[in-house]
Amino acid sequence: MIRVQGLHKRFGSQEVLRGIDLDVATGEIMVVIGRSGGGKSVLLKHMIGLLRPDSGAVLVDGTDITRLRGRALDRVRERYGVVFQGGALFDSMSVWENVAFPLREKSRRSPAEIRERVEEKLEQVGLTGMGDKNPAEISGGMRKRVAIARALVTEPEIVFFDEPTTGLDPILVNTIHHLIVDLHHKFRFTAVMVSHEIPEIFEVGDRVAMLHDGVIVEVGAPEAVRGSAKAVVQHFIRGEVEPVPADHTSRPVR
């Protein structure tokens, strides 16, 4: 279980996270939605230990990872798989080498076992036979799938997806979402997914949390969030431009 408690983060004068509280239950897919630049990726980076908060905690099975460093933090990260926004594939390696990389570096498996596992993962993401390609030679959708295969190759307990469908066409968005749901059914990992694919994302998450202005304004089952009475949630779901506060419009013209 992951528990985020009172997370605050400021970059210069801008307070990006203003007291985030969020629980992610073991085995569920938690989707974090919210406007671009609203702090979703910053929250995710705190959960994977790439950023340290000004205050607050991220508890993974009771251990506060914001206080861990070095080997202790690595031990928690060994349970993680992360799919980055742009894929973050190593461009000096082939697709096959990218997927094999975490196994080669972090496991004691034999080359034959690694080969078998990598072929299996490539097959699961529909990329059989593409192993020899270079990441630069394949399409955006394929890159995302390679990134998913690489994140899952070590069979992690917790998988983080940072906008895994950004920049893809609607058909590819659904393909990737189905892939994630299928893999989740198969491996039952805990997933935290940052996304703003509305309304498709409601079909993916077990629960949805909305981040707005550095705080979680709504969290619950997809239907509950969809039916939320909060104006800010409804504006976001419907893609409506938020009304400008009254004091901005009522300023006298001189």
Partner: protein
Amino acid sequence: MFSPAASDVWPAPLRPIAALGRLSIDIVLALGQFARFLIHALAFLVVPPFKLGRLIDRIHFIGYRSLTIVILTGAFTGMVLGLQIFLVLSRFGSEAYLGPAVALSLIRELGPVLCAVFVTGLAGSALTAEIGIMKITEQIDALQVMALNPFRYLVVPALVAGVITFPLMVSIFDVVGIFGGYLVGVELLGLSPGTYFGEMKTFVTWSDLMTGYWKALSFGIIVPWVCTYKGFYCGHGAAGVARATTQAVVLSSVLILVWDYFLGSVLP
């Protein structure tokens, strides 16, 4: 909140002093970060696992790929030295000392410095750009979340490769340069080959070779240190990588010259 970081909180007459203070603090912080970067990397030199494959790749990246430019520039440096020194020496009737003059200039000074500057332009800039692009495309973050230390993969192999390849490249530069001087002095201007090499054997001592070696070795640390550091801490986007690459080449070149002067004054 009252914060000394915000320039407008200070009364106007004090602002230049506040700015100077802030600049000084920034410089000291940057120097501290720069030094800590090297110490952090050196710590991984003694902690296994060692990435032999990455080291071989970096030796190829820094050393092998620079060979053509090292040979080419070494040859022409030697030829220019041969021509210019011959013209000067001939005014005093001392052409016989061309060999040692070319060899000492190359071995003690020009070999290590020019070779290091050329390799900085070729491999050092590529090193910064490569690491910078890995940073902005989250590849370094990806290494970290795989519980793999990016220093072990990106910095340590480059430093060790620099220490191995720089003395070798400088040796090649020196040898090719000496033959460049031979071509001009002996083949073109008519000095006897026996005089060229014989006088060289008399005047060039072991301590001259060691001076060149220590310089090459230290440049082999400075160049990968600066270039990987700049890549690691590059700014955002393509502009950030471009700026980091320029800064890496400029800072490496300046440090090479400053360190060369320092070593030149303390070594025999």
